[in-house]
């Protein structure tokens, strides 16, 4: 792992004043702490991706095939004919600059090449050279340039400095989404074997073993057993989850990160407790044991190959519908891609909550419901006994994940749930939440160790808004509905805003959930002692706190 830069030094190194040299004339540096290691031969081979070899991004020779330029240009041609988004976005940008300072990587680095528009220009300049008449005739004057090794290295560097968060697309007058450019860019790089190992490793794991972490079936079972033991210690209740059970009503799919390390495991305990309390007829699967999809950060085809397991397993097990856990990019894919890739799921039924009878019409064709929709519905119908005072030691804010925000629009469901289970809730400034939310800084497969400086820089904008509510309101808990957030925001908070911990919403749900026959809870899910009942905040104090929370957006809007 590269050395972590000092906080002050890092902050001082950021300037939003562009350097004198034009970006096209500025050579790209592959700096330690700012890049991830290249994909290994063995990981590429598992899924049969081309040019499998071991290589080192910092070395001059990337061991490319002889005709790499041709492969790349032909690859671009193919994608221009397949994706209207790509062709259109390359054609219509007016370089107005509205998107320039909207990217968390630009905000954290000040590097002009991290302006979304320039990320687009990296590819657009090459597009002009090979695919447009003005570019062919006027060359550099028209902003066109040859695809050479320097440009290739620039692409690699900056297409792995974009988390496909789509924030730029909110502000662009034409909705130009640089995630689309990055997705295409990474697909092209993958034609040359230029993935990063932090993505390729999980992809090959997921392909063979069903999940990114490579957890084998017996490990999944035993990890869940551990959590079941912890739940028993906490509540006195023994839970018996099932795996690969045919005939269950519901298949539950969540990112494997939830099974592996805290704080994700606490969220997972939350699911287990909630489902037990409801008496839900559901099963886990060890085969479809991954909701996330690092294939999406590789190529469309790879994403489809990995995603196929979910419907296939639902069919094999004969379930009626699928319930999905808390995850960001998983949900963008379930929502916008899964049915197109691997549907139609006509062997399933429209999801219907067995507890409330609510039919989830919004999942009519995909047949998969987000757990936050499911839980919000339960709470609205008063089906859960909740004691929010058990979260009184927490002052909570909510981080909207990029994908569920700008690729779905899940805003009110988690807020509704949070307001039912905790009494101290504060919003971060309006410009940093909901559709304008900032990425954690580590999305789209960039949450490795070796690119720590990049992640911390990318995480600055989000962390800074947390710092604001931490300073103003003593917020100490950053709730979210994303497995990558749970891991990466923990790192980011430790660095930028010590004193703030990170939790999935369903961990907090389980804290507040009063279960039938449970013993008196002494601690929360993490083993932290619960606040005593006397310290309960009065209703009035709560109202004041909320009113202040609502004012926040205005205050920060200097």
């Amino acid at each position: 792992m590269a050395k972590e830069p000092k906080k002050e030094e890092l902050l001082q190194s950021i300037s939003y004043k562009a350097p004198k040299t034009f970006w096209m004339d500025t050579p790209t540096e592959i700096k330690p702490g700012m890049f991830c290691w290249g994909a290994k031969a063995k990981s590429l081979n598992v899924v049969g991706l081309p040019n499998a070899r071991d290589w080192n991004p910092t070395e001059e020779d990337w061991k490319l095939p002889e005709n790499w330029q041709e492969i790349l240009i032909e690859g671009l041609r193919e994608r221009l004919d397949k994706y209207r988004s790509l062709r259109l976005f390359l054609d219509i940008c007016v370089r107005c600059g509205a998107c320039a300072d909207k990217c968390h990587f630009y905000i954290g680095t000040g590097d002009p090449k991290n302006m979304p528009v320039v990320r687009g220009e990296l590819m657009r300049s090459v597009y002009r050279k090979y695919f447009t008449t003005p570019g062919k005739v006027f060359g550099k004057l028209a902003g066109a340039r040859e695809m050479d090794l320097q440009v290739l290295k620039e692409w690699w560097t900056y297409f792995f400095q974009c988390t496909e968060c789509r924030r730029c697309s909110v502000f662009c007058p034409y909705g130009i989404d640089h995630a689309e450019i990055t997705i295409a860019g990474r697909e092209l790089l993958n034609l040359l074997g230029l993935n990063i190992e932090w993505i390729q490793g999980p992809v090959s794991n997921c392909y063979m073993k069903g999940n990114h972490l490579g957890l084998e079936p017996q490990t999944i079972v035993s990890n869940v057993e551990f959590m079941v033991d912890d739940i028993e210690t906490l509540t006195g209740i023994r839970i018996n989850p099932t795996f690969n059970r045919k005939g269950a009503e519901i298949l539950f799919v969540t990112p494997s990160g939830d099974l592996f390390a805290d704080p994700g495991t606490y969220t997972c305990m939350g699911y287990l407790m909630l489902f037990h309390e409801l008496g839900l007829d559901y099963t886990w699967s060890t085969y479809a044991s991954e909701g996330g999809n690092f294939g999406f950060f590789t190529s469309n085809e790879m994403a489809k190959r990995l995603n196929a397991k979910i419907y296939a397993e639902a069919k094999r097990l004969g379930v009626k519908w699928i319930l999905g856990g808390e995850c960001g990019h998983m949900w963008r894919l379930v929502h916008q891609y899964m049915d197109t890739w691997n549907g139609p799921a006509d062997f399933l039924e429209v999801p219907k909550s067995p507890i409330t009878g609510t039919v989830f019409e919004n999942a009519r064709t995909t047949k998969m419901t987000h757990i936050i929709e499911f839980t919000a519905d339960l709470m609205k119908h008063g089906k859960l006994k909740l004691d929010p005072s058990r979260n009184d030691h927490l002052k909570v804010t909510f981080h909207d994940s990029c994908n569920t925000s700008r690729g779905m629009g899940v805003f009110e469901e988690p807020r509704f749930v949070l307001k039912n289970i905790c009494r101290n809730f504060y919003e971060m400034p309006r410009e940093t939440i909901k559709e304008q939310t900032f990425c954690c800084g580590s999305g789209s497969g960039l949450n490795a160790g070796e690119d720590m400086e990049l992640r911390l820089r990318g995480g600055l904008a989000r962390a800074n808004a947390v710092k604001y509510v931490h300073d103003k309101h003593d917020v100490n808990m950053l709730a979210n509905i994303c497995a990558i957030d749970r891991a990466s925001l923990t790192t980011s908070m430790n660095y930028w805003v010590p004193g703030v911990t990170v939790a999935g919403v369903h961990e907090l749900v389980a804290n507040a959930l009063v279960m039938k026959g449970e013993k008196k809870r002494e601690t929360d899910l993490r083993g932290e002692p619960l606040p005593s009942a006397e310290e309960e905040i009065s209703v009035e104090a709560r109202a004041v706190a909320q009113a202040e929370g609502e004012k926040l957006g205005g205050e920060a809007n200097v």
Partner: protein, 329 residues
Amino acid sequence: MKALLPFLAVVFLVLLVIAGVKAAGLYFVFGVLVPYAAAAVFLLGFVYRVVKWGKTPVPFHIPTTCGQQKSLPWIKPNGIENPSGTGGVVIRMLLEVFLFRSLFKNRKTKMKGEYLTYAWAPWLWLSGMAFHWSFLFIVIRHLRFFFQSVPVPVQAIEHLDSILNWGVPALYITDVIFLAAVTYLFLRRVTLSQVKAITLPADFFPLFLLFGIGASGVLMRYYTRVDVVGVKELVMGLVSLHPAVVSGIGTIFYIHLFLISTLFAYFPWSKLVHAGGVFLSPTRNLSNNSRVVRHVNPWSYPVKVHTYEEYEDDFREKMKMAGVPVERE
């Protein structure tokens, strides 16, 4: 520096007209051939571009959602920023095209002390709106040259535009707004650090061209007073496909006409095609209903997957030991 070549290019175009019309007397070329050619290039080019985009598939359903989704019946969805049906999409698009709604959201990111701040920054939106709307008004006003008797809506707009009633001939407000907006759009490209950093020569060229068109127009109307009757005769000849050279209009008019022709011919091959492209943008013109209605990818093809059977073959013994049911013992 990046501005110099495009500037010289526009100057060159002006000199070309002066040489062609004044010195060589090529009235037919500049008054008839060039406008026809430009109109043809514009029409064919624009159709070609739009058809090309239109024929390129939209394999996935990728609207950028900027508001609450439609999910549970008791949660109020944001039907415009996150439309769930065609009506919402139409409103969203209309707001984009007529009011530049997304641009209106623009905020400037700054570090102030310990905190990042996001101050509302409407200048780009304002100048963009000013430029496009005044441009539209001016185009509509020009329709007076295309009809024998001026249509009533055009008269109304002329009236509205000159409502200040300043000077003779009365000043059109949009003329001032247009030149001011184009000037501002130019200035931000040479002064604002971030915009400067992304600007290409190709971004200056249309601005100089537009400024040239506006300036020559203003000169004609308020100072040199060209022969408007002659201009109308020429234009009517062009639109009725009976082109005829009209003498005595003045070189300044030919400069105006030539720059406009250049703009039109340049339009389809440059970033100006955003005027058509904005309507086809899949992040804006799709409704957020992909879990309700299946979106079909026309070029979808089967892919190689790792089947459950292969998985069970890999892990059968481990699954049995862990008590996970298997298909084949």
